[in-house]
Each structure stands twice: as C-alpha cells, then as structure tokens.
Amino acid sequence: MKYIVEVEGRQYRIEFEGERVLVDGAPVRLDVRQIADLQLYSLLIDGESFEVSVEEEAAAQYSVILSGELYSVAVRSEDSLTGVARKPSRGGDGVVRAPMPGLVATLAVEVGDEVAAGQTLVVLESMKMENPLQAPAPGQVTEVHVAAGDAVEKNQPVITVRVSGAGAG
C-alpha cells in the first residue's frame, strides 16, 4: 500500500509492503505499537524511539503531537485520484457551532437580526471562562438553535446565519 503523506507542506511517499516500509523509496525499519488501546503509539524508526499521540481530526487528516509539538498530517493513498484530503468545511454553510462544550451564558441575537462579520452572537461559558462565538461573515440570523442557559456539546449548531450574497438554504 502506498501513501502520499503531507506534513506542513512537505510530501513523503510512504509504502507498506508486508513487513517492509519505504520512505521515498528508501527502506526504513519501523516498529509501531499502540499503548493500552489509547491514541498513543510507541515508534521505533531505525532504532530511534518516539512516543506520539495520533488523533484523527477528519477523514485521513491527523494531528500528531510529538515532544510538545503539533504536526498536521494528511494521508492519502496513491491510488486515490482526488487530492490530499481536506477538512470538511464548516461554517461555509453559515452554521455557527460550539467549539467546545459549555453553557450558553448570553444569547446576543435573535432570528432576523442582521449581523456583521466578527459580531458576537453567543457567549459560551466553560470552565469559568467566557468564550464569544462570532459571525463568520456578514448576514442574517435565520435560526437560533439554543436558549440562554442551555448546555451544549462540542460541534452542536448554535446559530445559523444566511451569509449575505449567498443563496438561501
């Protein structure tokens, strides 16, 4: 199996052939073990020992943390015709989602309001901190999915804004 792996704008061609691993055609001794069913992996790469956290952020899109540094890695198999996988766009549809779980401390808009880009729509309280959620673009509020005081989960829709100039829907 061959993969094109992109890390911070740089591409690697990685092949897995049974026990063999090739990076840009050169063989690498790789031994990976998952630790206790966590997102934690012990890697030996030509004898060098690493322990990394690997989290799948979206399809074929990974966040890797290694020695306190974060790497965004996109993996696509060479036989796929599409380009490097991208994060599914969120927000383009005008739906503002909760970036974290929390409580709706303030609801600053209602349906029908015209809002400017960056205008605060909702303040979410989480862990004693207030976090304003802002309009991604100018437009009109078409839906309010929460009430003040509601507990919301991460990624839960909070407000829908019909972006000016965009078609309804």
Binding site: Y62, L70, S126, M127
Partner: protein
C-alpha cells in the same frame, strides 16, 4: 485534634487535604455534585455526600448545604480549599456559628483582607509599603488623584477580585468612560460600586510570601514564591526562591510579610502578595487568607507540610516551627496542567479522559484530581493537575520539569502541556528574564517544527491510516505475537543454548 473534617471543595485540592487528613488520622467527609460522584476526592474520602447539581452555585457554593452536611455527619471542622468559598467570610462565620472549626483565619480577618481598600489602609497603617493609590487621599476627586498618580493607571473595585471592575486607563480622556464601566461592573459583580485608582507598577514581578500564624502571636514565613508567569491573571508557573531577589531583598520582604501577618493577628496559612518593580522596590498587593494553589513549592524546599500545619493550628495547637527552623533547600517549580487547547487560543477542553500517565521518579510530585475514565466537565476550573519538581539548583529543576512534561501523557482531552514545554524551554524563562506581562505580551507558542521530526509524524499518521484500512489494530499488536514467541524460545533454550 480534629476528629472529622469536611472538605468543601473538589479536584486536586480536595484530594490534597484528604491525604493530609489520612496521615493525621482525621476522618474525612467529601461532598460532590451530580457530575462528581466518581471524582477522585469522593473515592479517597471516608465518607461522601451528594450536595447538589453541577453548577457550583447549587453545590460547592451552597453554604447552607455544606454546613448542614458537616453537622449531620458529626464533622467538627471544615476545610474550604481554595476558590469556591475559601475567601467568603460568610462561610467562615456560618461554620463558626454552627460550632465547626473553620480551617482558615477568623472571619473578621477574611472580611478585612477581602476589602481591598480596607486592607490597603490597614497595611499602610502597619507601615507596609503599598502601591500608590487614590484611596490614600480619600478627600479629593478621582481626577485629581489620577493626575497625582500619573498615567497609565488602573481602576480597581474595592470589593474586587478576578479582574471584574478592573480597567486600564492610559490618559485623562479615558478616565471618565472607564470609571463608568468599572463602577457598573463592580456593582453587578459585588453589589458595591466603590472603585479606586492604583498606579501601574512597570516591569513588575509578582512575588509572594507563604506565612503561617497560630493565633497565639507566633508567625513565620516559608520564604518567597515567584509567580510572574501569568495568563489572563491566572498564574501558570510558580517557583521558589525567586531569581529576581537578592538575599537582602528577600530578608527584607520576609520581615515585611511577617509584620503584615502580625498586624492582622494572622492565624492559619496565608500568602502576602507583593509587586516588585525593576528597581527592586516592592509594594503590598494583597493577602490571600487561604491555602494557595502553589503551596507545594514551598513545601518542597522547606520540608514543612503546610496543610498538616494548617490543620494542627486549626485544632488550637501552637506553631511547631520557629523562623530559624525554616531552612530552604534547593529549588522548586510548579506547572499547572490545564484542560485547554493551546493550539486553539486556550479554549477549554472537556470530555472523558481515556488515559493518564503521570510523570514520576526523583524530585517530582504530582497533585492531580483526574484519572483514566474521569470526565472533565465544563462546570469547574480547568486545572486538572499540578506538576511540582525539586532540584538542587534552578537549572536542575527546569530540566527535571522538562523531563516531567515530556513523560506526562493525557489522552481524551487537550492540555496546555505542549505550551508549557515550550515555555520551560524558552531562553527568557531559563534566563529568568520575565515579568508579569511576559506570557501574554512576549511569549507565543511556536508552530515551527524540527524538520527531522516531520518524518516521524508522517510515519505515525501513515501507519495509523494504514492500520485502520487493514484493520491491523483490531487487537493489540504485540501481545499474541510476543506470547507465542516466548513459548517457542523457552523451549529452544531448554534444549541447549
């Protein structure tokens, strides 16, 4: 001695207090909200009672319920921890009136120290230097005072705390509008719109002294703590001793801290906070009449268990240390581990912790309230653990902290660990070149990478993707293989080398 203690708190500090009680033979009563049934403090206490719903107002801040549980369970004392009700004189008073020992200062002391203007006046009268402020000339107008103090300056709420009612004013024209906003905020937050102006201390370090008083006139301090590394007015890293003080300054400030404590007839553990400017002049800031988050660093260098001593004092004992018994050894640093995502502007991160490996080994102490399977909820503080290190020198301690942070693994939520790793590795921190504005104004999380690590990240991600597709990970990889291997080998070995 105290027989049974109710801990009116949760998280790592509740666990800390329960551990001290365990070692002193004091029975412990934990309290928990709806979401904290399996929290660590409940698991390690002798008794545990549900006190209400998740929002603090309905549980950990409910004075009546806490006192009721304490009385009902036969507790004779209450420890407030820090945060929640720790500095609320009404809680201390309610405990006292219910016949419970409140592990902290007398409620009159808490009240006095809680009013910033009162506390400043009190300390000034006791001969303690304070940051110049409008409250020193109560007759004049705030505009006159502002002119006298000079711009920029700070508006602060007299009843204040937590940044509410606080405003920075750069020039005269800003003063009026800012006062209006600050007064409105103060009124909303504290029910008291009194504000005053304070001169801004430039290039200030935040340095505090840990004090212990027994109420019999004996007061000692356990040295200083450097707490200048702050974000959003929250300390992130604390250490002792401070690199910024000469021995002379340290001695002098220690004396002043003791004078402040003596003036207040201070009983229990507390902290006298100062601002120190670049020239070395220092100003009283406030007294925190409670245990501090960062108390462990003082414990590490002095060998004094502050919580145990606090409990003994609360039981009416005299201090068992004289000032000359306190001989700090080495260096200690604390790093607060927060459930927040440093890569997303420190947004809170909640959810179920799927795995925790805490660092360990020589010179490392972890104070934690979480474990595998614990759910971090949005209701409470984001502080989930503290890493405290001790080293013979500051350099040893920093290197040990870097080692500790590198070992610390938490899965399931995001933490500020990568941020702290960079911070401890920064030249400014290592060189001791920082003041209270450093973290927010001069330090930023680097997203630069070491080129040679990119390949590691690439291989790890590619492997996980490949394994997912091939379902290589459907069972732990190593177990079956290894076991088969060692049986084979054992046999071979038995047959001859």
């Amino acid at each position: 001695m105290i027989k049974k203690l109710l801990i009116a708190n949760r998280g790592e500090i509740a666990v800390r207090v329960i551990r001290a009680c365990r070692e002193l033979g004091i029975a412990t009563v934990a309290v928990y909200s709806d979401v904290d049934r399996t929290a660590m403090h409940v698991r390690v206490a002798d008794e545990a009672y549900h006190i209400g719903e998740a929002p603090p107002r309905l549980s950990y801040l409910s004075i009546s319920r806490l006192v009721e549980v304490a009385v009902r369970t036969g507790a004779d004392a209450v420890h407030p921890g820090y945060g929640f009700l720790a500095e609320n004189p009404l809680f201390a008073q309610a405990c006292q009136e219910a016949g419970l020992i409140f592990v902290g200062p007398d409620y009159h002391t808490i009240r006095l120290l809680g009013d910033k203007v009162e506390a400043r006046r009190f300390m000034r009268d006791a001969g303690i230097p304070i940051v110049p402020g409008s409250d020193e000339h109560p007759g004049g107008s705030l505009e006159e005072a502002a002119e006298h103090l000079g711009y920029p300056l700070l508006i602060k709420a007299a009843a204040g705390g937590g940044g509410k009612g606080m405003r920075l004013v750069r020039r005269l024209e800003e003063l009026g509008p800012a006062l209006e906003v600050a007064q409105r905020e103060a009124a909303t937050a504290f029910g008291d719109d009194t504000v005053y102006l304070e001169r801004i201390v430039r290039d200030a370090r935040h340095i505090e002294f840990q004090i212990l008083g027994d109420g019999y006139g004996n007061v000692i301090h356990l040295g200083d703590r450097e707490c200048s590394i702050q974000r959003r007015h929250q300390k992130v890293i604390e250490e002792t001793p401070s690199r910024a003080l000469s021995e002379e300054q340290r001695r002098e400030m220690g004396e002043v801290a003791l004078r402040a404590a003596r003036a207040a007839h201070y009983r229990s553990a507390g902290t006298v906070e100062f601002l120190v400017d670049a020239a070395g002049a220092f100003y009283f800031l406030e007294v925190n009449p409670r245990l501090q988050v960062e108390h462990p660093v003082s414990e590490m260098v002095t060998g004094v268990d502050i919580v145990k001593e606090q409990l003994r004092i609360a039981a009416g004992r005299k201090l068992r240390y004289r000032q000359e018994d306190i001989q700090p050894r080495g260096w200690s640093i604390e790093c607060r581990i927060l459930a927040e995502d440093p890569y997303s502007n420190f947004a809170p991160s909640t959810g179920r912790i799927t795995g925790v490996y805490e660092p360990a080994g020589p010179g490392i102490r972890v104070e934690s309230g979480v474990y595998d399977g614990f759910e971090v909820t949005p209701y409470y503080d984001s502080l989930i653990a503290k890493v405290i290190v001790w080293g013979e020198t500051r350099g040893d301690a920093i290197l040990r902290m870097l080692r500790a942070l590198d070992e610390f693994r938490i899965s399931g939520i995001k933490t500020n660990i990568p941020f702290c790793q960079q911070l401890f590795g920064s030249a400014s921190f290592i060189g001791g070149q920082f003041d209270t504005t450093y973290l927010e104004q001069r330090f930023s999380l680097s997203t630069e990478h070491r080129r040679e690590q990119e390949l590691t990240a690439a291989l790890a991600a590619a492997y996980v993707e490949h394994a997912k597709r091939g379902r290589h990970l459907s069972r732990p990889l190593d177990r079956e293989v290894d076991r088969a291997a060692w049986r084979l080998v054992a046999r071979r070995e038995a047959m001859g080398d």
